[in-house]
């Protein structure tokens, strides 16, 4: 059936199952190499004659609108790459920034975006050390797209990977989920939702450093596109474990839950830009939680479940006490119409 199988659809970029199939089917098999095969948020590789290892990542940002409550595309572009490095336990060092700008784009808006990138880089203690600018004719892109890449150093003794979860480990989320998605949708579509809806976009390297100082951190993921549900499924697949999550333990701000109810969205699939999910050795869960809650980006950190033995997947305990599978995002997350 001619349902667009021979061309890209927006669902290929949703971060869910189709994105995975695209990466596996087009990119991974052609670029095949052992470092790419790690499948984490950043690639990890050794440095000659050093105990340190390197983390390297890249991401492109095409968000609409460019400015939204809580941030803008510039802050997002710095935080997103910093966070991908942090999810490997790396200390972020240097970033690159590439801009594709549409003819006619207002310079004062560009300045605001670059100011915000500089501020985010200062907060994350990284330098933007190289960059590139391309201008395309009107209609060649939608306003402005940004790509950032980054390198970071993984200290000796730190081994964080989505493949390291073991039965018995605790699962922790660093705070409320869904804030970014709902704030951006509200700004994009003018739903007119009241209440202080703001993106959570934030650099998480400091929070991760505080967690690593306690120890026992096995896996980290920032649940961006595809949300918490997809991030948990990725860890379950990489580690070959079952993850049990208690729905009521997952922190969601009431205004975000209300907006999701109204729009027919599930906060578990909503994107976050300043949150992480961690798999932690059971014995270290409490001290890690305490350390997280002392940090400004981990104040609402919560224990949400644990790693179990069993076929890979995620099981959700609903508020009614029933258990059901929590699957990866399928297709685009869309509001209902009735």
């Amino acid at each position: 059936m001619g349902n667009g199988k021979d061309s890209m659809t927006l669902a290929h970029g949703s971060g869910g199952r189709l994105s995975h199939e695209l990466i596996e089917g087009i990119f991974r098999k052609r670029f095949a190499n052992p470092i790419l095969a790690q499948g984490d948020d950043a690639a990890e590789f050794g440095i000659q004659n050093s105990e340190f290892r390197m983390a390297y990542t890249t991401d492109s940002y095409v968000i609409k609108p460019l400015f939204f409550p809580g941030g803008d595309i510039g802050k997002l572009a710095v935080c997103g790459t910093v966070n991908d490095l942090a999810m490997k336990g790396a200390v972020p060092l240097h970033l690159s920034a590439g801009f594709i700008i549409e003819e006619g784009f207002a310079l004062d808006r560009l300045e605001r975006i670059v100011d915000s990138m500089a501020a985010a880089a200062r907060e994350a203690e990284v330098d933007i050390v190289t960059g590139d600018t391309k201008v395309v004719e009107k209609g060649g892109c939608d306003g402005l797209f940004v790509n950032t890449s980054g390198i970071g150093l993984i200290p000796p003794g730190v081994a964080v990977s989505g493949a390291n979860a073991r039965p018995g480990d605790a699962v922790i989320v660093s705070g409320t989920i869904g804030d970014h998605s709902v704030a951006v949708m509200n700004a994009r579509h003018g739903f007119g939702l009241s209440g202080d809806l703001a993106s959570d976009v934030a650099p998480l390297a400091g929070l991760v450093a505080a967690m690593l100082a306690v120890g026992g951190i096995r896996a980290l993921r920032d649940p961006t596109r595809g949300g918490l549900a997809t991030a948990l499924n990725e860890i379950a697949l990489q580690s070959g474990v079952r993850i049990g999550i208690e729905e009521q333990a997952v922190p969601v701000r009431p205004q975000v839950r209300g907006a999701c109810e109204m729009l027919g969205l599930d906060p578990l699939y909503a994107a976050n830009e300043g949150k992480l999910v961690a798999v932690v050795e059971a014995g270290r869960a409490e001290p890690v939680l305490r350390a997280m809650r002392r940090h400004s980006y981990g104040r609402d950190a919560a224990l949400i479940g644990k790693i179990e033995a069993g076929p890979p997947g995620v099981a959700l305990l609903t508020p009614l006490g029933t258990r059901r599978p929590l699957l990866m995002l399928e297709g685009e997350a869309l509001p209902r119409i009735c």
């Binding site: 059936m1 349902n3 667009g4 579509h189 109810e261 609903t318 059901r324 699957l327 119409i337 009735c338």
Partner: protein
């Protein structure tokens, strides 16, 4: 923000009490049909089938507006979207529904200007901002959705917007229930009636179900405790001596007379017409068409596109799912050749479709 204390409607202790009440009532097998996609999703999301006795079967009805939109209507919407100078504005759920050859998403990938909007007013705004374009809104939905679209048409008329129209593929809930009951192919012991639709039409249009067919009805909200309470009420009606009636469990949102203002606007713009339901067939007076005074907003008239004969995909059993004849996983395509990212039939596409609910929440019969 939501205006509701949701926790109250998800309380596990209250749920256990309701489940015990249901268990005591489930002395004989009962087939209950939920007639709203939002109910279908909630039942699967909260694992309600796992809580109640096996004797109580929950069947999905034709309550997903995207799913019941006919192949011919989808094909015509795609054909309209392909016309030069046309912007086709639609709710997101419609974009990936397969027609007889491709979907709106495929048309968009091939260059058609298909835009996802969140209300008909968004589509009207596009029309005002882009006067050189013909903006056509894909008018899909039940009584919940159609009044806001009628209001948008009135606004377009009052503001003199000449480049805005609506393709009317609206459906009405009560005639579909009549068709299911008079079809007699599935025995139904009770209807879980849609809260949102009922907030507009009230409870009177359902009375024939209880009075003529003797089938219990309960208008229900969408929280787990609403649904459990409604199931208990349906079983109590069946067991009771008073006979079937239409009860309103969702009185916090549904007044008995519905929303007279919304109904007035609806009747001003639209009138009942016979309508084709996907995989089900034509049901008399089960759709809405434009009244003559608003005919210039009727995209079906403005774009006179003949519907080529269309047939459902091979082996797709969405029609039987929507009529309560089979459960989603009894279809051979389910979960194998038909998934939400690569759907064969409409029930797997829509976020309110029964197959999508079963797949997403891992439900099995």
């Amino acid at each position: 923000m939501s205006g509701l204390d949701l926790e109250k409607y998800r309380d596990p202790a209250l749920a256990r009490k309701l489940v015990a009440r249901i268990a005591a009532l489930a002395t004989a097998p009962a087939s209950l049909m939920e007639v709203c996609g939002t109910h279908t999703m909630a039942i699967s999301q909260f694992g309600i089938r796992g809580l109640i006795p096996k004797a109580v079967r929950l069947l999905s009805g034709p309550g997903c507006p995207v799913c019941v939109t006919s192949l011919g209507d989808i094909d015509r919407m795609i054909a309209i979207a392909r016309q030069p100078g046309v912007v086709l504005a639609t709710f997101g759920d419609m974009v990936r529904v397969p027609g007889s050859a491709g979907s709106l998403a495929a048309a968009r990938a091939a260059g058609a200007d298909v835009r996802v909007v969140y209300s008909a007013l968004d589509a009207l705004r596009i029309a005002v901002e882009q006067p050189a374009k013909q903006v056509v809104f894909a008018g899909v939905g039940f009584e919940t959705t159609s009044p806001t679209i009628a209001a948008t048409v009135i606004e377009a008329r009052d503001r003199g917007v000449g480049n805005f129209s609506v393709y009317p593929a609206f459906k009405l809930v009560p005639p579909a229930l009549e068709a299911i009951l008079s079809g007699g192919r599935v025995g139904i012991d009770g209807f879980l009636l849609p809260g949102h639709v009922s907030a507009i039409i009230g409870s009177r249009p359902y009375r024939f179900i209880a009075e003529q067919h003797g089938v219990p009805c309960v208008i229900a909200g969408f929280e787990p405790l609403d649904i459990l309470e409604a199931i208990a009420l349906l079983l109590e009606q069946r067991a009771g001596a008073a006979g079937a009636s239409v009860q309103n469990e969702y009185s916090r949102s549904v007044p008995e007379q519905g929303n007279p203002d919304a109904l007035k606007i609806l009747e001003q713009v639209f009138q009942p017409v016979d309508a084709m339901w996907r995989a089900i067939g034509t049901i008399p007076r089960s759709g809405l068409g434009f009244r003559p005074a608003f005919a210039r907003f009727d995209a079906a008239r403005l774009f006179d596109i003949a519907a080529a004969p269309a047939s459902e995909p091979d082996g797709c059993r969405c029609g039987q799912v929507m009529m309560g004849l089979i459960q989603p996983d009894q279809c051979g395509h389910f979960g194998k050749t038909c998934t939400p990212s690569d759907p064969v039939g409409p029930c797997m596409v829509s976020s309110e479709g029964a197959c999508a609910a079963w797949f997403k929440y891992g439900v099995t019969a």
